[in-house]
Amino acid sequence: MRTIACMEDLEKLAEQKRKENRGYSRTVTLCAGTGCCASGCLSVIKALREELERLKLKEKIKIRATGCHGFCEQGPLMVIEPGNIFYCRIKPEDIPEIVAETLQKDRLIERLMYTDPSSGRKIACEAEIPFYKAQDRTVLGQNKLVDPCAVGDYIANGGYSALVKVLTSMKPEEVIDEIKRSGLRGRGGGGFPAGRQWEYCRQAEGEPKYVICNADEGDPGAYMDRSVLEGNPHVVIEGMLIGAFAIGAKHGFIYVRNEYPLAVEHSKIAVEQAGKLGLLGTNILGTDFSFDIKIARGGGAFVCGESTALMASLEGMVGEPRPKDIHTTDKGFKDLPTNLNNVETWANVPFIINKGSSWFASKGTSGSKGTKIFALTGQIRNTGLVEISMGTTLREIIYDIGGGSATGKKIKAVQTGGPSGGCLPEELFDLPVDFEALAEAGSMVGSGGMVVMDEDTCMVDVARYFLEFLLDESCGKCVPCRIGLSRMLEIIKDITEGRGTEEKLELLKDTAETVSVASLCALGKTAPNPVLSTIKYFRSEYEAHIKKKQCPAGVCRELIHYSIDRDKCTGCGVCLTACPHEAITGEKGKVHRIEDDKCRKCGICGEACKFGAIKLS
């Protein structure tokens, strides 16, 4: 490959690639993201390769294995272009039919089409599917256009043109101004204005300067950064290049979580490719701008995603946060000015440069611009990655995109922002996704986790679960977080196990406030959110646990009680055989009984009984 020296070179290369692509009559795009791989996409891809080989169609039909398309719930996914034909839940056995019917004869296979659960209608086009229709997939949308390991795909789709534009026609200050005007704010949790942060770093004294891409993503259930980095690493690299130019940084790191080997591999390949094209290295595009990127593997702990802990870990020290009275933009990695941004933040940069800050700022609310990716999980029908324009309401995300409850039960709450986000009740679902609006309500945009909970969820138990996670992940350095969280957990366990009192609930609140006011880093500062928000919005559940010693959702084991309804029991004995703890007694044909002291509250009897005779109270 020749190196790229100017805009014409890039356009030539892009045109050449596009021409190559036009040589194919059809392109089959298969999602090879995390979710689809889990549901078996790799064998589907293999089957398709073999089938095309067998029919000698390899020259005519292009296969593109890409990063995540987002609709993981329906995987493995396939999109056939032209036509925007969308097939889901494909098995290797379906391949011959797809090739023979759709690819060769242009006939649709109804069985593989997506069924809209609300209308029962079959939908052929990807763009028509409600899950996609209500989204604004600026960043994620590019995933299905590019093979992550083929820089040509990225360039054919306009990749690196923002970099060339910046290097050939803009001053660093102009780039910073453009980012400032766009209103881009950090996507990794803090929501700090990116342009301002770049400016601080540019103005800071000390050489060389560094930029870092935070791809540590330790939140359980989150995989948006992973999907971007795995699916489209070049967009992140291009963003970092533009940032580095604006800031005056010479070196960059992508700090990737160790559990993401594919993201590591793809970013390594991408860095190499960009280097070969002359887009990374010394004197990029013949200018005096030089920049390199190294890939670093994460230390493995959740707290390593915190900016100062990440930098300590990069330096080879223990990944623990330090006080931020001196900003990392002044003294970060190796005590030199360092600008850290999240994967998604970087990925937005090339779009802003290409389409303009006003395009970006036209999306969203007054304080929160652009789009944000969320990982939609929990008791929701369409789990997956969704990208929405800021300002979209929670209700739209949950019902229009997410398709509502997966269980048919009423949705009661949504937790946004990762493990230390707050739980918001149904009454607040009309809140827009906006940094300030969610924070005011006691939650946050955070890194973009979104867990939907139905009425079978006990909110006290949810608070306990997140608290346990956060205490486990606390570095243990500072008193409020280490001791405070462990005291909070102690109290919440008391409550879920029937030892709760009003005084303890007050103490829980007091402790939570102290932890959020006084902790050293944002892990501690935000850790009380799940507890505080559930006390605020679901206080009656706490009171039921404390005063009545009851768990309304029937989750907290110590507070629930199984018994057999005399009127419904037929004496079939199924429960007796099913119970693993031998807690059920009774004779065939007669009403059975559960012995309280032996019952371990696993609920297996309830699942076994065909007559609904097992009562939960």
Partner: protein
């Protein structure tokens, strides 16, 4: 650049050498800010969080630890707002519940206004203030002690659980440890811990007598010998 900066702490104009932390500036002036992990001459880590203050910047308030905050010209600090006092008291309460067997910590709790301890006592032998580890590493340039483990598992350990060859036997770890001063009535047994609350041995003078607040001495060195961190402080006086 002038060698001194002037900042406002609790409304008082305080002059301090450039590079001083807000905590040291306040203590030198005579404003009492409770502290535990802070020691003179050792890099502050801001882990006990007792010394939190509000910094007012452009009309907005931010909570941070005064030991890690460098005093700057024109800085406005509020060290004793209701919000701070409440959090500080709660932190002291957590500390004393964790380690009732330290008179230093009992005194800190008393000073921070703790009246009763609402958490069950845990009676640990270490509050992870890091004084020993930092004195060992920074003052005596030995690395005989370190932190191991994360979260609740965090603890101070010797390499391979043995006193290493390179230990200088300076005793700093013991002299500086807040846990080495036991309550007047002797160590409390497990299950029989209580919050003293009456003992004023360490606090014979009150915060009102600005210049002679014993409190500050208490915070700086549980250093009976004065050989370690306290040294520098004496020099300065």
């Amino acid at each position: 650049m002038s060698e001194y900066v002037t900042l406002t702490i609790n409304g008082a104009k305080v002059r301090a050498p450039r590079g001083t932390s807000v905590l040291d500036a306040a203590l030198d002036y005579g404003i009492c800010i409770p502290h535990l992990c802070h020691m003179q001459g050792v890099i502050p880590t801001g882990v006990c969080r007792l010394c939190i203050v509000e910094v007012i910047e452009k009309g907005r308030s931010k909570v941070t630890t005064s030991c890690t905050l460098e005093a700057e010209e024109g800085m406005v600090i509020l060290a004793h707002t209701d919000k701070i006092l409440k959090a500080r008291k709660n932190i002291a309460e957590m500390l004393v519940a964790e380690a009732p067997n330290s008179r230093a910590i009992q005194d800190i709790a008393l000073k921070c206004g703790v009246k009763d301890v609402r958490y069950p006592f845990r009676n640990k032998d270490c509050v992870l203030c890091g004084r020993c580890v930092r004195a060992c590493t920074e003052i005596w340039r030995s690395r005989s002690l370190g932190f191991v483990g994360r979260g609740e598992q965090r603890h101070v350990a010797l390499p391979f659980d043995e006193r290493p060859e390179f230990c200088k036997r300076c005793n700093a770890c013991i002299d500086l440890c807040p846990m080495t001063i036991t309550p007047c009535d002797g160590p409390m047994k497990k299950g029989e811990e209580y919050f003293c609350g009456k003992c004023e041995s360490q606090l014979s003078m009150s915060e009102d007598f600005v210049d002679s607040c014993v409190w500050c001495r208490l915070g700086e060195g549980f250093d009976v010998t004065g050989r370690h961190a306290g040294r520098k402080q004496e020099d300065k006086r």
